[in-house]
Assembly symmetry: C2
């Protein structure tokens, strides 16, 4: 069943200490070619009927994202749980 | 510049209290047609050169996901910051 995916990321001008911590840990893993890491949230919303993008956008705006420091995108995605870890 | 996106979600059999809290709040917003909400993480990795999926998979496995309770997917994505909030 298709679901709506909401991606919430910090705005580009907002510092992301969590992502920076990961980026700083990478050289210790032998990874030297990463320029930046940013960490946000991915929210999967399943509707009882047809996926409703406008409704999802309203939910994201009111409940999932802080519009002062975060941007979000909303999209419909086919079910792809079978692809996990691929 | 293309970036690698790692999506980390709790395995389907693991309870997601954070997502459930959002789902339970929805009727108060007048939204009654949502079956479930699950909340995970979205990590954007920018490489200095070409995006490297194998490298990203290694980073996700060692640093970003807990393979006991979480699944992750890795993919290359074109830059789409201009689409924010659309």
């Amino acid at each position: 069943m298709p679901r709506v995916v909401v991606d919430v990321m910090l705005k580009p001008e907002i510092l992301d200490p969590q992502g920076q911590a990961v980026a700083n840990a990478l050289p210790r893993l032998g990874v030297g070619d990463v320029a930046s890491v940013r960490i946000g949230r991915r929210i999967e919303i399943e509707f009882t009927g047809e996926p409703d993008l406008d409704r999802a956008r309203e939910i994201a705006d009111k409940l999932l994202a802080n519009p002062v420091i975060e941007d979000f995108t909303v999209r419909v995605e086919a079910d792809e749980t079978a692809d996990a870890n691929s």
